[in-house]
């Protein structure tokens, strides 16, 4: 109970700090913060799929579907963005469910491979209707949500990411979340308890797809320009790296992982070329040293300290 209250205060503190940030930060940092918000939505929605036992290597495809749906409807048809953005999420959700129908028959690495190739396929679809999608060169002049200042965008995406996290948190810590996690642990036990395990995994794909689609739509109307390469295989793999590095086992993992790893290249002004090395180093650190990810670091350090102390004690005793 006490621990809950402490972390509750912590969360409120972080939200207050984030809401005050535009008072102190220049627009370049607000820009970075906005991108982090968008990618936190991506990584957290990827985790929603992950906890059902499906490791997707094509999550950026959902972002692409949301981004292109909303961007094209707003740009070519002039539909209002408050309407096209939810449609983008809906489109990504529907595609997630449709893809899930056959893909939920696959397990483990076979699902991952299928999602990888699906992700590759989605971005090539831009070639089908070049005058609508801008082909491989990208779609420019997408209507923007607000004017030139970053501040309204900042608050908009802060609100959006908080709402997304709230919903995903509630879902994960409910009967539905428990069911999703049980399916990942044993589909045999789950189905013999009456759980339609394929249905549950399809549902996870739908929910994860929805929020990724919303993130993509937001991104399109923030950046004003989208291109297929932003949603290809590498971005999908990076999302997975953020998730694993942050800590796949905890809700905070993808949030922390994205915030840290996404910002590494920007923190290394002048040495951006080396950023992949640092991101790889972070991943290897997680794989070999801190299996619970960055969020597990404090506890991991405690256990190292304890072990060191015990060894010292043993030396004195000897």
């Amino acid at each position: 109970m006490k621990r809950n209250r402490v972390s509750g205060f912590g969360i409120v503190g972080v939200i207050v700090l984030l809401s005050l940030a535009p008072l102190f930060l220049e627009s370049y940092y607000l820009h970075l913060a906005i991108l982090v918000f968008i990618y936190v939505m991506m990584t957290s929605s990827l985790r929603t799929i992950y906890i059902s036992g499906q490791m997707s290597l094509g999550h950026a495809a959902s972002m692409a579907i949301g981004a292109y749906t909303s961007a094209m409807l707003a740009k070519h048809l002039g539909w209002p963005m408050w309407f096209t953005m939810p449609l983008g999420g809906l489109a990504a959700m529907i595609v997630g469910v449709l893809v899930g129908l056959p893909f939920s028959r696959l397990r483990a690495i076979y699902f991952s491979m299928a999602s990888l190739f699906f992700g590759m396929m989605v971005t090539t679809l831009v070639a089908l209707a070049p005058e609508w999608t801008g082909h491989y060169a990208g779609l420019p002049a997408i209507p923007r949500l607000f004017g030139f200042s970053k501040v309204p965008y900042y608050y908009f995406f802060l609100a959006l990411v908080l709402l997304t996290l709230l919903i995903l948190y509630r879902l994960e810590h409910s009967r539905l979340g428990m069911t999703v996690k049980s399916v990942a642990q044993s589909y045999l036990a789950a189905s013999s308890r009456g759980i339609n395990e394929r249905g549950i995994r399809i549902l996870s794909l739908g929910i994860g797809g929805f929020f990724a689609g919303i993130a993509g739509a937001g991104y399109a109307h923030y950046a004003g320009f989208i291109a297929p390469e932003s949603f290809g295989v590498m971005p999908s793999i990076f999302l997975l790296v953020y998730l694993l590095a942050g800590g796949k086992g905890s809700f905070a993992g993808p949030i922390v992982g994205t915030a840290v790893l996404y910002l590494i290249p920007y923190a290394m002004a002048g040495f951006e070329g080396y950023a992949p090395f640092f991101q790889a180093a972070a991943l290897f650190a997680v794989l070999y040293l801190i299996p619970d990810g960055i969020v597990g670091l404090p506890r991991q350090i405690m256990s190292w300290v304890r072990r060191l102390r015990d060894r010292k004690k043993a030396e004195y005793a000897a």
């Binding site: 013999s192 308890r193 009456g194 759980i195």
Partner: protein, 254 residues
């Protein structure tokens, strides 16, 4: 008659793992399914619980034709099952394993989970209470908060039983419920099985330990090479020449 199989057959490649089995179970019975290794016992259980589709034949349960029904729907009409190799929710605690198994009693709507509605809360509260009872029932209270994967084998098996009870089965299929257990664990499991039966469930169990089966079951079905070779009360089966031949080889059938 609660369960009836008619000409149930299942091929794996060219091999008939279960061949033309007619079997019936009356409500309230404990029926033992025995046979030598590889006789097709687990295949038969998998067919009845829907994890395998029969090549031919049919299965009637409680008036429903369940021959080609999906496994999760079996649970909904009252067929529960425990497994030989235990498929626990390894990262859940003992208690969470049972709570998660009460899926059919829960409000599983997106709406209920998201908004914590009154209906959702009431159902979850009921489930917690029933899960405590199930825990008590199988005697796992001391290990309530242990992770499933850290439990000893015997406790895992009994937990599987407690979790299977969460679907409130009319028919419970048990695949070697005391396999690999030491005497204390087996006693615990057998006590739990007897209590389940006393609570009104019909039971079909596969078991290698013949003396346990003889002591526990009202009726025994013997299969060998996928075929039913004998059926009857423990006494009848014990004296059956074909059963003796199946277990000990032809020379002993004197």
């Amino acid at each position: 008659m609660l369960l009836r199989t008619i000409g149930l057959t299942r091929y794996f490649g060219g091999l008939a793992a279960v061949s033309n089995v007619d079997m019936s179970i009356d409500e309230g019975q404990i029926v033992g399914l025995i046979g030598p290794n590889g006789a097709g016992k687990t295949t038969l259980i998998n067919l009845i619980s829907g994890f395998l589709r029969p090549s031919s034949g049919s299965i009637i349960f409680d008036g429903h034709d369940v021959t080609r029904m999906k496994p999760h729907l079996h649970a909904r009409i009252g067929i529960g099952r425990c497994f030989q190799a235990i498929p626990l929710f390894a990262e859940f605690t003992t208690f969470e394993n049972i709570v998660a198994s009460f899926y059919l009693s829960a409000d599983t709507s997106l709406w209920g989970s998201l908004f914590n509605t009154r209906r959702y809360r009431r159902k979850e509260k009921d489930i917690l209470k029933q899960a405590e009872e199930n825990l008590e029932f199988v005697g796992l209270r001391e290990v309530k908060d242990e992770l499933g994967k850290n439990l000893p084998h015997g406790h895992q098996k009994v937990l599987d039983l407690a979790a299977a009870l969460a679907v409130k089965p009319k028919l419970l299929l048990l695949d070697e419920p005391i396999g690999g257990m030491d005497q204390d664990e087996a006693d615990l499991a057998l006590k739990a099985i007897k209590r389940v039966h006393a609570g009104g469930a019909t039971i079909l169990l596969v078991e290698h330990n013949v003396s346990v089966v003889m002591g526990l079951c009202d009726r025994i079905v013997v299969i060998n090479y996928g075929r039913k070779i004998a059926e009857g009360t423990p006494e009848e089966v014990r004296g059956n020449a074909e059963v003796i031949r199946a277990y000990f080889g032809g020379d002993y059938a004197a």
